[in-house]
């Protein structure tokens, strides 16, 4: 697998929590040396929100939304036809409809969905999981057996992860430290169990970041920016500025504040990867991902408060936990590792990938008169020194504005190769 460089189309969802994960996967796949294109579905999302805002009768809006989704599907298919990927990776909620998945199968293009959701909350997997070649999940039994019963036997367990190039400790300005910093903080949506649980922290130096906290008067003092959405870039700053990050997994039920569920959320890996300290609630799948001395875990909110008291006063203990957790993520839980595992699994199940060997790098595949200027061009474009020619031309085409003369000559070479049927790098 290590020597195979694939053309991979990542289809992002239009919105939601799996969207940033999809973007991390794109970076990770590129890091692994694959040529990656993205179907950037969020660009089409305003069409759907705009439709809602027209105030049409709901009976009419449904068919119109379906029509728009057909257009989205056609756009994905157009990208597939233009680029002929080896593999299409759909993130949870990605807008691949049934017809499109059938066309992909007929075209011999392998497909996978990474279902980074709770199967008990989103149940469309019952109808759609069998349409994918591989359906990767973040939960184990009974989900895997249920999938087998629906006709999807290829359901590898693929827990969430972090992207070390993004989830790293930033240097904060004093102003940022003041804005984002707190003794304790939580970043996430206002699920019922969190609303209830965090009332015990309301009087402390405790900040709540994220959306869906409407109507939560008991925590009004703690909720930052009126519950505005927080970008992934800003989340890193919040994690970094907070002494104790509270990481309480969500639950739609408020009767059990610490739900004791199975899967481990992305925040766990992201905080760990950054070397930021967290108190995380116990999950059934946590022990196989992190050791007891890598994460400080609580089973109840009273225990959470105890641990908060303890660790808030002991920065050296926090640092020790955080360092061990970071080392563990870098060793076992990066998106690069997840993507490699997914591709290896797919090859094991469906047979080897079509390409026999890794194509030559752009540097090795261009004429001498272009080679000298290439390293600095690759650097400018944020590409690795061994980036392949396809990735280089894709990055150049994606740039706005005029290109340098070397960039134009690279594109000219690419088009000339296509016209003359030359082997591409």
């Amino acid at each position: 697998m290590a020597d195979v460089s694939l053309r991979i189309l990542v289809v992002l969802p239009m919105y939601g929590g799996s969207l940033p994960i999809g973007r991390y996967c794109v970076d990770a796949l590129r890091d692994l040396g694959h040529s990656v294109q993205v179907f950037d579905a969020p660009r089409l999302y305003p069409a759907f929100t705009g439709l809602k805002e027209l105030g049409l009768p709901p009976m009419s809006t449904g068919p119109l939304e379906n029509s728009l989704l057909q257009v989205v599907g056609q756009a994905i298919w157009t990208q597939v036809e233009c680029w002929r990927p080896d593999f299409v990776l759909a993130m949870a909620q990605a807008p691949l409809n049934r017809l499109l998945l059938q066309r992909l199968k007929r075209a011999g293009i392998r497909t996978a969905m990474w279902f980074v959701e709770d199967y008990a909350v989103f149940d469309y997997w019952r109808a759609y999981a069998p349409l994918y070649d591989v359906f990767a999940v973040i939960q184990k039994e009974p989900f895997v057996s249920l999938l087998r019963e629906t006709g999807q036997p290829r359901a590898p367990y693929l827990p969430l992860a972090a992207l070390p190039s993004f989830h790293r400790m930033p240097t904060l300005t004093p102003e940022e430290q003041a804005e984002y910093g707190a003794e304790a903080a939580f970043l996430g949506a206002g699920y019922p169990n969190r609303r209830q649980a965090f009332r015990a922290l309301a009087d402390r130096d405790f900040k709540i970041w994220g959306s869906d906290w409407d109507g939560e008067t008991a925590l009004a003092r703690n909720i930052q920016r009126g519950g505005a959405r927080i970008s992934a870039e800003e989340s890193v700053k919040i994690y970094a500025a907070t002494a104790v990050n509270i990481n309480l997994h969500s639950s739609v039920f408020a009767d059990k504040l610490v739900s004791g569920g199975d899967f481990v959320n992305p925040r766990t890996f992201e905080l760990a990867c950054m070397g930021a300290f967290q108190l995380v609630d116990r999950r059934r799948l946590l022990p196989e991902l992190f050791a007891e001395d890598e994460l400080a875990v609580f089973d109840s909110m009273p225990q959470c408060l105890e641990l908060l008291e303890h660790f808030a006063a002991r920065p050296e203990e926090r640092a020790a936990f955080a360092a061990r957790a970071r080392a563990r993520v870098l060793r076992d839980h990066t998106y690069q590792q997840r993507m490699r595992a997914l591709l290896d699994y797919t090859a094991e199940q469906l047979g080897p990938w079509p390409e026999g060997g890794r194509p030559a790098s752009a540097l090795d595949s261009v004429p001498d008169s272009l080679r000298g200027a290439l390293p600095s061009l690759l650097q400018e474009l944020g590409l690795p020194p061994d980036a392949r020619f396809d990735d280089l031309t894709a990055a150049l085409r994606a740039l706005d504005g005029p290109l340098s003369d070397i960039g134009v000559r690279i594109l000219l070479l690419d088009e000339w190769r296509k016209l003359h049927g030359r082997k591409r790098g």
Binding site: G401, L403, D405, R409, L412, E415, K418, L419
Partner: protein, 409 residues
């Protein structure tokens, strides 16, 4: 001073057909013309007001491509173009256009995954759905890439005999579009006699030399002393010298035909197969085209003929020779021969138009031209007609008016 750049990297004939655009841009600032390297000297000859940049688009290998285009790409990237007129739907052109800000590129504009077309170019492409009824010369297609192009009459000199004799283009790029040699021999002899036996110049590249020898064998001995075989013996300036001042050029749809029109030489052209005078006829008033008039014409150059090139047959009839002789005597030839229609070029506000008495599609053609004139603001809207409404319906897509104007797609 404004910097205008024209990219025309297609063939000989296409370069000559860019005349209206180029002449329109003369005097509007710096004018740069980007051509394929093999046509650079011709470009300098025909368009001395333009600074010519030569791209090596057909090198032997990648190394030569990269090396030979180093300086020209650097020059182009440093020009700071105000407007770039890209005449070709070519991925190579699209790559070169990345030297410039996207919004400055007109006609065919590079897009992340291909080439996007302007509204005008999209309209022109739609015309191909009804080729038989169309009437829009390629010179005008490119000329109208710029606002307020020069008047059609100012593009080429008026066609007038120059007294130097007869030019004969031996073959077009597609043999299917050229007269068979026995037919051409009869045509040449007819014109030779009608003009009183002037010199005859056989024109073409070295690859046409065998055709020249074949033709010479078919001509009468009396003629041979007047025939000069220049095939393969002229460079670009030599070819222009050979064509300049001729009384008439006998030709299929070729680059030499466009060169003759460019120099004001009257053209007698024979259009068959995929050649269609309403698209690529010689530009300017006073040229004649004997055009295939069969239901299958014009066909597609890329599609094989399933009718055994039936469009050749009418040209072997005696009626063609009589028609030629009448035309040379200044008499009005019959506009319609079996399988052939005779067209004469005229000018209107849009550009060059080919007319023929009794043209069954004349009303539709006129309605189309009127519609295009209105779109280009060359004419005020007329009262509605069925034909005008028909063209409007065929040329207009909902996205043209429901979405913002000026889109490239």
């Amino acid at each position: 001073m404004a910097v205008n750049i024209v990219l025309q990297t297609a063939r000989f004939g296409d370069l000559v057909q860019t005349t209206r655009l180029l002449r329109s841009l003369e005097g509007r600032g710096e004018l740069h013309l980007v051509v394929e390297r093999g046509l650079a000297s011709l470009a300098r000859l025909l368009f001395p007001a333009a600074q010519v940049h030569a791209l090596a688009l057909y090198p032997a290998d990648e190394a030569a491509l990269a090396e030979n285009n180093r300086d020209v790409v650097r020059e182009l990237a440093s020009l700071g173009a105000d407007a770039v007129y890209n005449c070709n739907f070519s991925p190579l052109n699209a790559a070169v256009c990345r030297c410039f800000p996207s919004e400055s590129v007109r006609g065919y504009r590079p897009a992340p995954s291909g080439t996007a077309r302007s509204f005008w170019i999209r309209q022109v492409f739609r015309l191909t759905e009804r080729r038989r009824e169309t009437s829009l010369n390629l010179v005008d297609v490119w000329g109208h890439l710029t606002d307020n192009p020069i008047a059609p009459a100012a593009v080429n000199p008026a066609a007038a005999p120059g007294g130097r004799g007869i030019g004969v283009t031996l073959a077009g790029r597609e043999s299917r579009r050229s007269l068979p040699m026995p037919v051409l021999a009869q045509v040449v002899q007819t014109v030779f006699q009608a003009l009183g036996g002037p010199p005859v110049y056989l024109l073409g590249s070295a690859s046409e030399s065998p055709a020249a020898r074949k033709l010479l064998r078919l001509l009468s001995p009396r003629m041979l002393q007047k025939v000069h075989d220049l095939s393969g013996k002229t460079d670009w300036p030599g070819l222009a010298d050979a064509v300049r001042g001729l009384d008439v050029l006998l030709t299929p749809d070729t680059g030499i035909m466009h060169l003759a029109a460019h120099l004001g030489v009257p053209v007698f052209a024979f259009f068959l197969s995929s050649a269609w005078c309403h698209e690529t006829g010689p530009y300017g008033a006073g040229h004649y085209v004997w055009q295939t008039d069969l239901p299958c014409a014009p066909c597609l150059e890329s599609a094989p003929c399933t009718r055994d090139v039936a469009c050749l047959t009418p040209f072997a009839e005696r009626g063609l020779l009589r028609s030629l002789a009448l035309t040379l005597r200044g008499e009005r030839p019959e506009s319609s021969l079996p399988g052939i229609r005779v067209w004469r070029s005229e000018l209107d506000a849009l550009g060059t138009v080919f007319c023929s008495e009794g043209d069954p599609d004349a009303v539709a053609r006129a309605a189309l031209r009127r519609r295009l004139m209105e779109k280009l603001q060359l004419a005020a809207p007329l009262a509605e007609s069925r034909e005008a409404a028909d063209w409007c319906a065929r040329l207009t897509r909902e996205a043209d008016w429901m979405l913002p104007p000026g889109r490239y797609c």
